[in-house]
Amino acid sequence: MNAVVRTADDDILVIRGLDKVYPGGFQALKRIDLEIRRGEIFALLGPNGAGKTTLISIICGIVNLGAGSITVDGHDVVRDWRATRSLIGLVPQELKTDAFETVWNTVRFSRGLFGKAPDDAYIERLLKELSLWDKRDNKMLMLSGGMKRRVMIAKALSHEPQLLFLDEPTAGVDVELRRDMWAMVRRLRESGVTVVLTTHYIEEAEEMADRVGVISRGELIVVEEKAALMHKLGRKQLRLQLHEPLDAVPGALAAHHLELAAGGNELVYNYDTQGERTGITTLLADLAAAGIRFRDLSTRQDTLEQIFLQLVKEGA
C-alpha cells in the first residue's frame, strides 16, 4: 500500500513476537509486533494497565524480556545491550529523583552513567533549552512538579540518545508546560531524535504524533498513520435539525438506525466515511418520502479519543 518502499534501515526499533508474563502469572504483553521509524513521533495509546510501561521497560532493560526479540538500530537488546541502552533515553512516568542533589549534578550524573565523557557545554545548552538554567544549583526537593519533570527530561537527554521514550510526559502538568513540552518534542524530532510517547491525552497524540498505536490488555490492537487512522476508523455523524419534533423514529426509516436527540428535535445518523456507500442519499430520499423536513444539518467527525474508546471496547 505504501508508495515508498521501506527498508529495514528506516526502522530504529523493531519488536517481534514480544510476550511478557510476570512471575505472578499475569500476562502483560501478548505477541507484540511493532516497528518504529527513524525520526518519527510515535504515540502509544492505551488505558491504565494496558502494558505501555511494561513494553517501554523491556526495551530499556528495566524489565526482563519474556519471549520474542527487540532490536534498536539493528542491535539486539539482550545480546548487545550496551549498544542499545546507549542509544535510548527514558523519561519514566513517575517523578523519581534524588531529593538532595542539585539539578546540575543530577543531569551530569546521568550523562556519566550512560558512559559519556563530561560535556558541560552540552549540559548547559540542554538546561537552557528546558528553562532549567536558573535552577541549576537548586536541590531537587526545592523544585515544583513541573520543574522536576523538566529535569527528568534533561537527564534522559543528557547522553544525546537517538530514541527517546516519554512515558506519560504530561500527566499532571499544566497547560503552559504541556505546550512547552510539545514544542520541545518537535525540536527533538527536527534534530533527528525518534520519540515514542505514551499518553492518556488523546489530544496529545492528535497534536504530536505521526503514527499512533493503540494497546489494550497487552495487545497492540492497531498501528496506523494518525491521519489514516482517523480517516479509516473515523465515523461521521450527520445531525438533522427538524422542523417539527418527533416522538419516535418512523418505522419507514428503521433501516437507517437513526437516533433521536435534543428532545426529538434532531435526528442523528452515523455513517462510515470509508464505507462503499455513506447511505446519505438514500436517507435523504427516505426522509422526503416520509414527509420529514429539516431546517439545517451538520456533520461531525470522531476525534481520536472517540476512536480510541471504541477500539478499546471492541478489543475487550
Partner: protein
C-alpha cells in the same frame, strides 16, 4: 568497561558522604573515643596487659575492625537500597552498565568511606595510646580485604532488604554481636576451653586476629588461616552478588 558510569556512581556516593559528614565521620570518632575512655582508661587501668601488650593498645585493632565492618555494611547497603526505595534505580538499570560496573561503583565508594573512617579511628587512637604497627603491608591488606568483603555483604543486604527494618537488622543483630564476641576486647585464650572452640565458628574472630597480628605479632589463630578465612568470605560474597545479578533477584522481574 563503562568507566564514566563507574565514576558517576562512585562520585555520587562519595558526594552523599560529604553531605552527611557528621554522621559519617564524627560519629565513629566520638564512639571510638568513648570506648577508649571506658575500656582503655577506666577498665583498662585494672588490666595491666594482654599477652605483653597494654590493654588500651590491645583493643585498637578490634575497635578499628568494629567500625570497619559496621561502616562497610551500612554504607553499601544504604547506597543500593536508597535508589531502590526512591525509585531512581530505574536509571542504573536502563544505563549501559554491567553488573560488575554497578558493583564497582557502589562497593568501591562504600569501601573507600569505610577505609577513611578506619584511618581516622587509628589516628584518634593515637591521641589516647601509643601503638606500633609491626607489619604495615599486612595491616593494609587486611584493611582493604575486610572493607571490600563487608561492603559486598552490605550490597547484598541492601538488595535483599525491602524495608528499612531489614536494612538495620543484619548490622545490629548479626555484625555487632559477632564483632563483640569475636575478640575485639579480649583474647580468645581468656575464654574457657569450650567457648574457645565455639568462638572459632565466628568468622569475625579470624578478621580481628589477623588484623591484630599485623599490629603486635599476636594472634588467636594463625595469620595464614585468618587470611584464608577472609578470602573465603570474600569469594562467598562475590558468588552471591554474581548470582543476584544473574537471576535479577529483587532487581528485575
Amino acid at each position: 568497561m563503562n568507566w564514566h558510569g563507574i565514576r558517576a556512581i562512585y562520585r555520587f556516593e562519595m558526594a552523599r558522604t560529604g553531605r552527611t559528614l557528621m554522621q559519617s565521620v564524627a560519629s565513629p570518632v566520638v564512639s571510638t573515643s568513648l570506648y577508649f575512655v571506658v575500656f582503655g582508661s577506666a577498665i583498662g587501668s585494672r588490666i595491666t596487659s594482654v599477652e605483653g601488650v597494654s590493654y588500651a593498645a590491645f583493643i585498637i585493632p578490634g575497635l578499628v575492625m568494629l567500625s570497619l565492618l559496621m561502616q562497610s555494611v551500612s554504607n553499601a547497603s544504604f547506597g543500593i537500597y536508597f535508589p531502590k526505595f526512591v525509585g531512581t534505580i530505574y536509571e542504573v538499570h536502563s544505563a549501559p552498565l554491567s553488573f560488575l560496573e554497578i558493583v564497582l561503583g557502589y562497593v568501591g565508594a562504600a569501601a573507600t568511606k569505610a577505609v577513611m573512617v578506619g584511618l581516622i579511628i587509628l589516628a584518634t587512637a593515637r591521641l589516647f595510646v601509643d601503638y606500633s604497627i609491626a607489619h604495615p603491608l599486612v595491616m593494609v591488606a587486611f584493611l582493604l580485604l575486610t572493607t571490600v568483603t563487608f561492603s559486598l555483604l552490605g550490597f547484598i543486604i541492601g538488595i535483599w532488604a525491602d524495608n528499612f527494618e531489614k536494612l538495620q537488622v543484619v548490622p545490629l543483630m548479626v555484625i555487632t554481636p559477632l564483632t563483640f564476641l569475636g575478640g575485639s576486647f579480649y583474647s580468645i585464650h581468656m575464654l574457657p576451653p569450650f567457648w574457645q572452640k565455639v568462638t572459632l565458628f565466628n568468622p569475625v574472630v579470624y578478621l580481628i586476629s589477623g588484623f591484630r597480628w599485623s599490629f603486635y605479632d599476636l594472634a588467636d589463630v594463625g595469620v595464614g588461616i585468618s587470611l584464608a578465612a577472609t578470602l573465603g568470605f570474600l569469594v562467598l560474597c562475590l558468588a552471591v552478588v554474581w548470582w543476584i545479578f544473574r537471576t535479577g533477584y529483587r532487581l528485575k522481574v
